[in-house]
């Protein structure tokens, strides 16, 4: 066995291990999830006061939709306030916000630009609510989401934060349909990590926190443009429980071009690498069992796996192209292609079957995530679309993020 083969088998073994770990978790908690997709909206007694902060920076086109979706939430009106913070926009966002100045449920503020986390922190200072959340101005909330999430806080006093399921809003092109599939898989992963007490990110769109979180461990901090992830790391370090509410849905705008998607993912992956490096003391630390032995290592493994496998793939591709070029330059275009369908030529190496197994596990996670987030799409052809598109483009931002982290140390832009 050659060294590349040994590395390939090791990487694939670890990738299968991660998926099996999630699968075992899924079956451990199957009873709890069995009816989550048809679970009625819970009744909330003594509803806590909730404040949702909407940080805005040049969001003139979407801010109305975002705030209106918050005002339409199924929640007692006197227990919900919206705090919109214009973070020094250079477009007409502030003028748009002024339309809410007479609405007693909406409080609008304007500040100099300082980054998203400063706008959210500013909003936190303006409220005395028990539950505080944020909502990016490019996202919309399902009316029943807040009640479902608050119910989790009320059910368990130890729950310090609740994250929703993110759904791609109104996908229009193939890239967005592929992202919708990815988000479904993310819902599955997030829910399993929730059972494991090992969630590593509280996404900007509609993650809710108890006020005590900010009082005990502080507010958002500048953290490589992934402040929502850093806060989750800090919460884990302080043994604060983060739950995922799979049937609370938040619709978010997704990048509609490869370039925009590349910029977003570069920021995410770079942020993960940097935050993990900042909190490396948590890796393989017995005090933080699943977070330190599963979440963080599996994230690192997935990056190494994709980087290694993609480099191998591109190397093989280059060798193949060079061979074809050599063949063409030697004898010209040869139309006599020999195609043999004999079973003998089907790949029967162990790695082939294991790779198929890995794909089956990934498809299972997508279908299960789709069911958990009430999408109910099951097996549709967009899964194939997702696999093809991400196989080609995901290695690019992963490699770039690793390159930026190790070599250039350049922080990716927000968008």
């Amino acid at each position: 066995m050659t060294i590349p083969e040994i590395i390939t088998y090791t990487v694939v073994f670890l990738a299968v291990y991660v998926q099996v770990f999630l699968l075992v978790t899924y079956f451990e908690h199957l009873k709890k999830m069995k009816y989550s997709h048809i679970e009625p909206v819970p009744d909330i007694t003594n509803p806590p006061k909730v404040a949702i902060i909407v940080p805005c920076w040049n969001e003139e086109k979407t801010v109305h939709g975002t705030i209106n979706s918050l005002l339409a939430l199924d929640y007692p009106t006197d227990r919900l306030e919206v705090i919109a913070v214009d973070d020094g926009s250079t477009d007409t966002t502030w003028q748009e916000l002024l339309e809410y100045k007479d609405n007693p449920r909406v409080h609008i503020f304007h500040k100099e630009n300082g980054g998203k986390h400063t706008a959210v922190n500013f909003g936190i200072d303006q409220t005395d609510a028990d539950i505080i959340g944020g909502l990016d101005a490019d996202s919309f909330v399902a009316p029943d989401a807040l009640k479902r999430m608050v119910a989790l806080f009320q059910k368990n006093p130890e729950v310090m934060a609740v994250t929703p399921s993110l759904i791609v809003h109104n996908p229009k092109n193939m890239l967005q349909y592929a992202q919708r599939v990815e988000y479904n898989m993310s819902t599955y992963n997030k829910k399993m990590l929730s059972f494991l007490g090992a969630i590593h990110v509280t996404p900007g769109p509609f993650s809710l926190f108890r006020r005590t979180v900010f009082e005990r461990i502080g507010k958002f901090q500048k953290a490589h443009n992934t402040e929502d992830q850093e806060l989750a790391y800090r919460m884990q370090e302080n043994h604060m429980k983060i739950e995922h509410c799979a049937n609370a849905l938040v619709y978010t705008s997704s990048p509609d071009t490869i370039k925009k998607l590349y910029v977003q993912r570069l920021r995410w992956i770079y942020g993960f690498i940097q935050n993990t490096a900042d909190y490396k003391r948590l890796i393989f630390n017995r005090d933080y069992l699943n977070f330190s032995f599963f979440t963080l290592p599996s994230g690192v493994i997935s990056i190494i796996a994709v980087v290694f496998l993609s480099l191998t793939f591109f190397y093989d591709l280059i060798v193949f192209i060079l061979k074809k070029v050599s063949q063409y330059s030697t004898v010209g275009f040869n139309i006599h292609t020999h195609i043999n369908f004999n079973w003998f030529y089907i790949n029967t190496q162990t790695i082939f079957f294991v790779t198929i197994l890995l794909y089956v596990l990934l498809i299972f996670s997508i279908v299960a995530g789709s069911r958990l987030s009430r999408q109910g799409r099951g097996l549709d052809w967009h899964i194939l679309l997702y696999i093809i598109i991400y196989t080609v483009i995901a290695p690019v931002w992963l490699l770039k993020a690793v390159w930026n982290s190790i070599v250039t140390r350049r922080q990716p832009v927000w968008r």
Binding site: F293, Q349, F353
Partner: protein, 233 residues
């Protein structure tokens, strides 16, 4: 499941899944090896058949002599050995098959020459000596040329020999035709040509009887022996 117990159980499950994948892989690979062995037996029969034809040649007229072409499964065998060489982990078995295949090629080559002389049928033969290693970049290109030549002129009989193979038969051929150490080398109708030859160069060396291939009625040919006429992997 609490603590590290779950990590251990998942490890066992993952190992079990890999073991099942390995078992299926081994089972199917063994089937492939068996498949090659069966083909190898057919090769042996073909070798004996070739030898018999040598003897028959002495007493039969040219009309009675059938094609010396080896069975079509020989061609399949060449492909399978080539594939197995790259994908199956049984190098000893593969080397043995390659050696036997080389002997078969030489026997067919000799028989072809005999028929050509006895029946006054000019048959163009090319012996191709290559090396399966990175040190022979031109072997790869020469392989492309010979593949193209075989497709354009199916009546030309091309025999490939991997000089890296531990075969006394191949060594004997190298001595007879004074094959230099630098490869690739071709022996076209008995004349040794050293170094890479383009398709144009080769076509110029072909006798006029093998021109206009589209109208010719090609006798069945041996598929380039081995295995990997490109001479490298």
């Amino acid at each position: 499941m609490k603590g590290f117990k779950k990590y251990f159980i998942v490890l066992l499950i993952t190992i079990a899944l890999f073991a099942v994948a390995w078992y299926i892989s081994t089972y199917l690979n063994n089937k492939k090896i068996t498949d090659i062995r069966n083909a190898q037996n057919k090769v042996n029969v073909d070798i004996m058949s070739s030898e018999t034809q040598f003897y028959l040649l002495q007493s039969l007229s040219c009309q009675d002599i059938g094609n010396t072409t080896l069975a079509s499964e020989i061609s399949d065998l060449a492909d399978k050995i080539s594939y197995a060489e790259q994908n199956l982990n049984d190098p000893n078995q593969i080397q043995l098959l390659k050696q036997q295949y080389s002997v078969l090629e030489v026997k067919d080559f000799l028989l072809t020459k005999q028929i050509s002389i006895r029946c006054k049928q000019p048959i163009t033969t090319i012996l191709y000596f290559y090396k399966n290693s990175n040190s022979c970049a031109d072997c790869t290109r020469q392989g492309y040329v010979l593949d193209a030549l075989r497709q354009a002129y199916p009546q030309v009989r091309i025999y490939s020999f991997d000089t890296g193979l531990d075969s006394s038969t191949i060594r004997a051929l190298q001595t007879i035709y004074k094959i230099p150490a630098s490869l690739p080398s071709l022996v076209i109708n008995g004349k040794t040509q050293s170094g890479f030859m383009s398709l144009d160069d080769l076509e110029k060396l072909l006798p006029s009887s093998v021109t206009n291939p589209l109208k010719a009625t090609p006798p069945p040919t041996i598929k380039s022996p081995l295995i990997n006429t490109q001479g490298s992997k």
